[in-house]
Amino acid sequence: MTFEVSTSTLPTLLLSAAGDAQTKSARTALADPTTSRVSFTLDSTLESVNKIEQTAEQCAQRAGFDEDTIPHIAMAVREAAVNAVLHGNAYDTRKHIMASFETTSDALIIRITDQGPGLDPETLPDPLAPENILRGSGRGIFLIRAFMDEVNFRQLHPGTELTLIKYRTPAQPGS
């Protein structure tokens, strides 16, 4: 059985999620019937983070992930969006974050892009190290890696694109 995202309803759903969060932002929604890919652009606000998290949850549900995995995907995407808004764009109203959600027969692929100064993931301290365990921050990337199957960083000069991949299992509908 092949899982098919309704390209007529999903973009509407996601546009609704992006909705009225930022009237000044350049929002776009692209629906490619062959890849079931949807993307949009939002302002650098916490409201955008919430919208991206909600969209991730909806996409994960539609992709057939189980009830334990869906919150993990949503949390990983939320953490990526927080990084983009907070650490990447530093709440700069002139900068935007881009989010795309692509459902393939094998995986759910999410890309979150900011317009910030860039991030070298190799320089991030290990939050599990004894000297870091009581730090008040620095666990976002760790949680993303814990909950997703693949996490890739790409430097855009300026900006960072974070790609999160969660593979679908044969037991999930449509695989």
């Binding site: 916490l46 939320r78 953490e79 599990l128 365990i133 730090r135 008040g136 760790f142 814990a146």
Partner: protein, 115 residues
């Protein structure tokens, strides 16, 4: 759903009954302000009841850690009560489960604070 806090006193222990989401922004700030307010009032035995917390992100986890160290540095104790499975799992993944004193029973939690 934004986070809400209700405060009560039991046998010298301040219990903060939290509900909603602890995330970057409102929830984290609410915890920070509540704990600081308690310390300002000289209340250093603090029990955070997380039984009605539906969601917590890395910022929320960080805020719990900061609250723990703030209270400890002030000579007090901060403990956690009634973790949901989601919060429990997050604290295990981040190895914070062994850092916090975590209780499942309120009466036992209250009795565990130093006199």
């Amino acid at each position: 759903m934004s986070m809400k806090v209700q405060t009560r006193q039991v046998d010298g222990v301040t219990i903060l009954d939290l509900s909603g989401r602890i995330t970057l922004g409102e929830g984290s700030v609410t915890i920070r302000d509540s704990v600081r307010d308690m310390l300002t009032k000289g209340q250093k035995k603090i029990l955070l009841n997380l039984g009605e917390i539906t969601y917590i992100d890395s910022s929320g986890i960080g805020e719990l850690v900061s609250a723990f160290t703030t209270v400890k540095n002030a000579g007090g104790e901060l403990k956690l009560l009634n973790l949901t499975k989601k919060v429990h799992d997050l604290l295990q993944i981040t190895k914070l489960y062994t850092v916090f004193d975590i209780k499942d029973d309120e009466a036992a939690a209250i009795a565990s604070f130093g006199k």
